[in-house]
């Protein structure tokens, strides 16, 4: 009885771990002009919460996002930033209407975001399905 219980728990744990692994499907993309191959979760958070406005070399960061109700956006906010979508929206309302940060530029589809990032120096964006496009660089996460 006890053994069965442990095995079931172990299976549940393994399924859970595999789900976590699978769910990390968000890819961070930057314009090829941005000299960056790895990024930490904390730095992505600083950038997407309007706290870091420029890249370390002094060039302006152009933020791109998908609409708030887009599945990929919600996944990005929950899993990459570790926030609830309402927290993300509220922070931007506050930053923007206080003048403390410029609003991210909103585009409608993953294809649009890849295109915009490819064509805008300093741009950063996120997608779920990898798209190979000239001018787009994929950025890996540091293991933390």
């Amino acid at each position: 009885m006890n053994l069965k219980h442990y095995i079931l728990q172990l299976i549940a744990l393994l399924v859970y771990i595999s789900l976590i692994k699978q769910s990390y499907a968000i890819e961070i993309i930057v314009n090829e002009s941005v000299n960056l191959s790895k990024i930490s979760y904390q730095q992505i958070k600083s950038i997407y919460l309007g706290q870091q406005s420029h890249w370390p070399n002094g060039h302006l960061i152009k933020l791109y996002k998908l609409p708030s109700k887009h599945k990929t956006h919600q996944l990005f906010v929950k899993q990459t930033l570790g926030l609830y979508p309402y927290q993300f929206n509220r922070r931007w309302q506050k930053l923007f209407f206080s003048g403390f940060a410029a609003k991210p530029i909103e585009v409608f589809t993953e294809n649009d975001i890849a295109k915009a990032v490819a064509n805008t120096p300093g741009a950063i964006g996120y997608i779920e399905n990898k798209i190979i496009m000239k001018g787009v660089r994929y950025v890996a996460f540091f293991d933390e």
Partner: protein, 410 residues
């Protein structure tokens, strides 16, 4: 409508040159909102002096963001407010922002111009329907009577953020002067006195610590605004007041906790108020006749304390319920106002205020929003001027405020 256009002519005119600069580039962007509301006040003169039911509740804001170059960002917002007794148009903020240090774990920048005060969770967005929890902010911490000394300052600020293993720190150091309008003189002196008012430079320190997961935060802020007031009087007035100084040492502590379906906000204000001058006298008495002895208004340290707890529940992505309870005491050493009543003969309930509020916010779409809320008050401290001789406008201990507002943002 014509009056509305006339009142806003400078806002409308200021759009034109901005449009001329916009060459279809992404470097310039506009945004704004319009809101109209209706409010009902059961008793007292919190909102509109004439009527219990008031439509004098219009807000209009237009903001522009302009990337001057790769380094400097300019942003500004014009705000028109017809809010009960007060009708005003002002530049809400207009500033240059330059973040000059950008590292993986820390950033530092500065701002110059008219800057929004970021003390407390809701101060910087107190007029923004989409970014505030309710139409009327908790009066125990965000008193509308003192809004001029908390909204935005002309000066400069240094700000930054740093990431640590256990969380992140945001900080601001600011120096500047709060511009004042006639609202403040009414708030401090009461409308029966009126007069001129000016402010002095103010230092502000503010920091927020956020947990690494982002599910809770604490912040602490301090500032010391100072106002100089010169009441006007007529030689025939039965009683008049000398000029005086009011100095605030203001501390605000905030805590927020976020979960998937609800969030909790707790804030506490401690305000040490120093009042100098404002001696009462009878103007028509010749100088050789001794003035009678009046009660002293001057105080070295009047400690105002206020706090509230607010719970918001998200029924779904677009519908939020809010419950809130707050208390405010004008004098922490005389919480029930009994000493004050004994000394001055004014009502004891003018020195405290308890407020239970409940409301709902419904986002109809990304642009439209409806708010509806009710406030139940005991006491009138949150709506009484700091120095006031006449409480006959606010003579009900128990009163209610109901409000409905529709907003459109673009």
């Amino acid at each position: 409508m014509l009056r509305f256009l006339m009142n806003n002519k400078w806002i409308i005119l200021s759009i034109l040159p901005c449009l001329a600069f916009a060459n279809g580039k992404n470097d310039l962007s506009f945004a704004g909102f319009v809101s109209q509301g209706i409010s009902y006040t059961s008793d007292n003169q919190f909102f509109d002096a004439e009527d219990n039911t008031s439509f004098n509740m219009t807000t209009l804001a237009l903001q522009a963001n302009y990337l001057f170059n790769d380094q400097i960002r300019l942003s500004g917002q014009a705000l028109y407010r017809n809010w009960g007794k007060i009708e005003s148009s002002r530049i809400d903020f207009l500033m240059a922002d330059y973040q000059f240090i950008n590292q993986q774990n820390y950033n530092i920048g500065f701002r110059l111009g008219r800057i929004k005060s970021d003390l407390g969770v809701f101060n910087s967005t107190r007029d923004i329907p989409s970014a505030r929890p309710s139409i009327f902010l908790p009066q125990s911490v965000y008193q509308d009577t003192l809004r001029d000394t908390t909204t935005s300052y002309d000066g400069l600020s240094l700000y930054g953020n740093q990431v640590f293993d256990l969380g992140r720190l945001n900080w601001t150091l600011a120096y500047g002067r709060y511009p004042v309008s006639s609202d403040l003189s009414e708030s401090i002196l009461g409308k029966e006195l009126g007069g001129e008012i000016s402010t002095k430079n103010n230092t502000q320190i503010h920091s927020t610590w956020e947990s690494v997961a982002g599910n809770w935060s604490v912040s602490l802020g301090y500032e010391n605004p100072q106002a100089f007031a010169k009441p006007l009087f007529d030689i025939n007035d039965p009683i008049a007041m000398e000029a005086g100084d009011i100095k605030f040492d203001r501390y605000i502590f905030s805590h927020q906790y976020f979960s998937a379906l609800w969030d909790l906000t707790f804030e506490f204000i401690y305000q040490d108020t120093e009042i100098k001058g404002f001696e009462l006298f009878i103007p028509y008495l010749p100088s050789f006749i001794q003035q009678p002895v009046f009660p002293e208004i001057t105080t070295d340290s009047l400690v105002n304390v206020g706090f509230y707890a607010q719970w918001r529940y998200f029924l779904n992505e677009d519908l939020t319920l809010m419950l809130r309870y707050g208390k405010y005491f004008t004098d922490i050493d005389d919480k029930d106002g009994s000493q004050y009543q004994q000394d001055t003969g004014m009502p004891d309930f003018s020195r405290y205020s308890f407020d239970f509020s409940t409301g709902v916010k419904w986002k109809l779409s990304s642009r439209w929003q409806i708010n509806f809320e009710g406030h139940f008050f005991e006491g009138t401290a949150a709506i009484s001027p700091t120095i006031k001789l006449d409480h006959s406008d606010n003579d009900e201990k128990y009163w209610q405020l109901w409000s409905l507002q529709v907003s459109y943002s673009f």
